[in-house]
Symmetry: C5
Subunit: 95 residues, 5 copies
């Protein structure tokens, strides 16, 4: 999974019918301490994440393993909201 | 999913029989504000997208989850046309 | 899908038994106008492509959706031969 | 598979229900001799790995082939703990 | 598929039970002429490859389509040993 920050939203009226009701969020990749990187992806939200939160995103076919994304044409899903990240015994991020 | 702009079309007479009738579009990756990047992909269109429109593309096995791509040898599908993108409370793109 | 040019062939006598009879081609990635890039892949040919032709390659599980690659351990398939590519109304490639 | 070192942990209370009980570890990619690279991923642990150990990570749908990750929305799993790595007849890493 | 050279082995006693008996090899990516690149992967051997041989590796779910990798948590498999590679009519590699 990839650590990233929810930074925005995408509105799309015309879309595959299976996507109706899916919330599309822009997630920017981060370092484990929350530092923003220059890569981003658009992911479907499966856990009620909001702008500003650090999240985990699963990609590929794994993105279709949640109840809200099953059989849908989506290749990225937010499946967890990060509370804290600890690296080498040091807390790098705390919500 | 990846944000990109439809910039062109591919014509291919000789192709796998499952691809007959599929529209093949060239999609160039963009930043969330629509700025063109130097990467591009060829995707099957599932939503009636046209050249110049900002779209979302799903890759991998997820590209086969639309009615128009099921069981076909395609690894990228346009599954939404972007109306607007908002990042950090600012509208970066508006159709 | 990726646009690329067939530049060569691979001979492999010792291989997984499911691959017997599959033609293995070296495909070099190109820009939409056919300009060669420095990336290449080895793909199974599903459409009778030859060295020098511009083709589309599908990757991942999608590479196994043709009759000639079903259930085989291959992650790239040539599924179309490009006739022409048009970007922003200009013909960049014509066979 | 990718060789990496377990360097930390992620705590996430709010997550997809299928992830309850899964241990989420931060794995930093390494060279075969254990030298740390600047890429990292978050993986589910399937073998009882601990911080400081060199491990193998499987990505994509393959990450869902262990008993602890089946049908879960996870795209990376630690499926082996490395004892030793030998390259060109030289032992580069020994636990 | 990716062309690479088998350069080493990985020993892992503690691993997912489905991996018992699988040979884990380090494969370094190469140019079509066998020149080593700086990328490498760990792959399961399905064809009896040895250190020093040029091989083809299939990645992702396709890596699970051989008899020796079916349903296993592995994302890379060596599925062919290269005899020769010819590019633009010139033999770049000959075993």
């Amino acid at each position: 999974m990839t650590v990233g920050k929810v930074v925005g939203t995408v509105v799309a009226t015309r879309k595959d019918e299976k996507l109706i009701g899916s919330k599309l969020l822009i997630v920017q990749d981060t370092e484990p301490d929350g530092t923003l990187l220059s890569r981003y992806t658009v992911a479907v939200d499966a856990v009620g994440a909001g702008v500003g939160e650090l999240v985990l995103t699963a990609a590929g076919s794994s993105a279709r393993q949640t109840n809200s994304t099953k059989n849908k044409p989506v290749d990225a899903v937010i499946m967890a909201i990060v509370d804290s990240i600890e690296v080498h015994g040091e807390v790098l991020f705390q919500k």
